[in-house]
Subunit: 517 residues, 2 copies
Amino acid sequence: MGSIDLNDLSLKANHWGNFLDPQEFRRQGHMIIDFIADYYQNVEKYPVLSQVEPGYLKKRLPKSAPYHPEPIETILNDVQEHIVPGLTHWQSPNYYAFFPSSGSIAGFLGEMLATGFNVVGFNWMSSPAASELESIVMDWLGDMLKLPKSFIFSGGGGGVLLGTTCEAVLCTLVAARDQMLSKIGRQNMGKLVVYASDQTHSTFKKATQIAGIDQKNFRTIKTSKATSFGLPADLLRSTIISDIEAGLFPIFVCATMGTTSTTAVDPLGPICDVAKDYGIWVHVDAAYAGSSCICPEFRHLLDGIEGANSFSFNAHKWFFTTLDCCCLWLKDPSALIKSLSTNPEFLRNKASDSNSKEVIDYKDWQVALSRRFRALKVWLVLRSYGVEKLRDMLRNHVRMAENFEELLRADTRFEIVFPRNFALVCFRICPAAIGAAKPTQTNSSEKISEDVDDQKRINEVNKKLLESINASGSIYMTHSVVDGIYMLRFAVGASLTEESHISSAWKVIKHHADTIL
Amino acid sequence: MGSIDLNDLSLKANHWGNFLDPQEFRRQGHMIIDFIADYYQNVEKYPVLSQVEPGYLKKRLPKSAPYHPEPIETILNDVQEHIVPGLTHWQSPNYYAFFPSSGSIAGFLGEMLATGFNVVGFNWMSSPAASELESIVMDWLGDMLKLPKSFIFSGGGGGVLLGTTCEAVLCTLVAARDQMLSKIGRQNMGKLVVYASDQTHSTFKKATQIAGIDQKNFRTIKTSKATSFGLPADLLRSTIISDIEAGLFPIFVCATMGTTSTTAVDPLGPICDVAKDYGIWVHVDAAYAGSSCICPEFRHLLDGIEGANSFSFNAHKWFFTTLDCCCLWLKDPSALIKSLSTNPEFLRNKASDSNSKEVIDYKDWQVALSRRFRALKVWLVLRSYGVEKLRDMLRNHVRMAENFEELLRADTRFEIVFPRNFALVCFRICPAAIGAAKPTQTNSSEKISEDVDDQKRINEVNKKLLESINASGSIYMTHSVVDGIYMLRFAVGASLTEESHISSAWKVIKHHADTIL
């Protein structure tokens, strides 16, 4: 009987303990590494854009969770059979859609370490290494980008790792909002005004909605080809002036370095000059293109940043750090902390309460209380590749985009719609190739109606081209419409993409164009 | 020359391609699995609460990022030498602080798969499997919790995976805010009122700050021992009535199932009844305790939920899914979508534009545009353990907390301050044990001053006990103060904790109490 009891006990201990049993962790962990390595090895075999129909997965999975445990082998088999076909393969070397979500081994390892430690670093004490490493890598990165001293900790500013740009914009907007309301009184909430260009990412509009900014006070400044689709500072100034004359209170401008549609760059210097005259917070959203500034040849695009209040870029876009990871720097973190800090009893501790404020409690720099140890993956990326290889990699993407441009230029059926700034090429089948009428010299109203019809037709052909290419699964691109022009976006940046993929992509595009034209 | 060029090329390809090179991924991936498995195996050797001093890491790391790449072996060595000492070990079996951040092998594997695929599932098309699996697991989980049909997709509601409770509360609050403003006009923004108890998590206050609710309209309803620190519905009603009489507009009540300090449970039925009478949105925050409702014996604590508008719990707390993962269900997702949707041109696609609305674009259910494939880890947890083992694991934690209670009860120097509801025990050294004066029958004002002095002294002793225990590094607990009483919180829930750890923890506590008393 005694021995049976002992067996029971040991079975029981095993039974309870095994959710994190180190040996079982090791066994299953190695399996998953091989699974993912195989996935990368085979990723080119799958259509880049998933070709499943809406509702496909419900038909394949059971109606409810299993009652009994299932072995990992069965589950991984199901991942391969049922999940992989429903993926759009952002890590495929043939992925050129949206902006890249550039993974890397170092980014992956950092995420694994953070997940393994699984600490909840809301304040310093809850895991000192998480807070301290974050401050350190934010200063390292700030230096690499040659941000003004005032944005990094040693210069009185500071940086934080958030999930996404939307969170960065929301937090800084709330800080700016509260700063103004503390001066003019909360009853003026409905009179706060915010500014962006018609190329600014929709994430800003969403942030203003969440922060309770009256949407009739959301000013969209029109851009044009004349300003390369950058926000015109003079138009910003005149809009601000008329708002002030109307008794409103301008609080925030969202400037962009590298817009989503065409990677246009707003003129930061002039915008900050205008904002300074009226005491307006300027946030610079460099979600995609910010990372390029670690290369000296791109850094001038941030000129004028010294006049801004905050700056962010997404390391999970074009900086080899897996989703999610947005790097935000501020000149005056205390404005953020004032709006976002809470101090419940259960979180109080000696380090946070100390008068010297020698520790950073990052919970007061973000929306949520809980936070993941994101600094690990940034640290691993910076150390594994170093400034040298990171620059090389970005430059290589730019070079491949240049090469793609060359291929386009050599084919008269295509045109590059906007000059390329980084590694995104915006192009289309040109009007001449589809026999679109040239505007004739008749009276102006007739001319316009002809142009509109032509443009519609040109847009339709290009839309058809994109859909036909994406349906093939060979490569995946997305589109945008700027100034009425529908264009195809070819964004180089997937970590696995090499020169040979660019040539293949070009062949695919030509082939589909041949069929359509 | 030709062969040299070829070598150059192959070197170059290797050089560029290797950020995600499958073979190198495999090599480094296996290394990190062993690193983390070793960490779990050795985690009891480290002090649970990190003992480093503020600023320790800056002294150990270089001032800037390296220019040249560093090998993974060096980096992992530094993780061990410099990061691990700065961790507070949330995965240690001797961790009883805050609430658990319960990891599991399945949760870890799911996170790895999501990180490996690294898709950005903002809309259906960007990775159909990500959206579809999320809807499926949210219905599975909803069924496991026996949520009313109206909260799950088949009943007209629906669920989403967010990062944290703060995000869930913020999003639902914004939906409720906008619903009311669309009726009464935005000029009444300053007249919106929100309600919580004095035990509600600070995350709600923060969400109201972000959403622009005037903080003078944040109503904190007082709780007491008489209502077991649950929000008294009658007091809620009278507060609402007086706000309405004052010309204000009540919009939102945050009810809690399992408060942070003592796991008190608000009376959901009566609260929802009150809210219904005045058209107020009720969100039920069950961040910690929600998962317990998969066990029938706890489910009654959610009785009345059918009257609420939304419900959330954190799978990353007590449900073995690594940080971050908050499960939110709503009866009326369209209210959320109305407030949070954006539809920029570059995201438009056939599936989203279709009139049948047959796909879910989860970007419209959350703050950010980008989102991680969190459903994978939930799916892996549900399948790897099944309903059966998940219940067993939760019940085992509850049983260990019961056993800890028994140990406390057997020692007259301690008292259990609040009745235990789940796996958290709130206790302290009792007044008698430190010779605190019993309240004497003198006039009432004298009595109060004596009580206050005594309480202060009792609190000081207990604080000293906690600090002395945590400084030892053997176990880690945190505290709270409710109704003036400072108490130690012993939260069982780390996945590695077994019965033997409870006995050891008790020995540590007794030993430190012996020294202090």
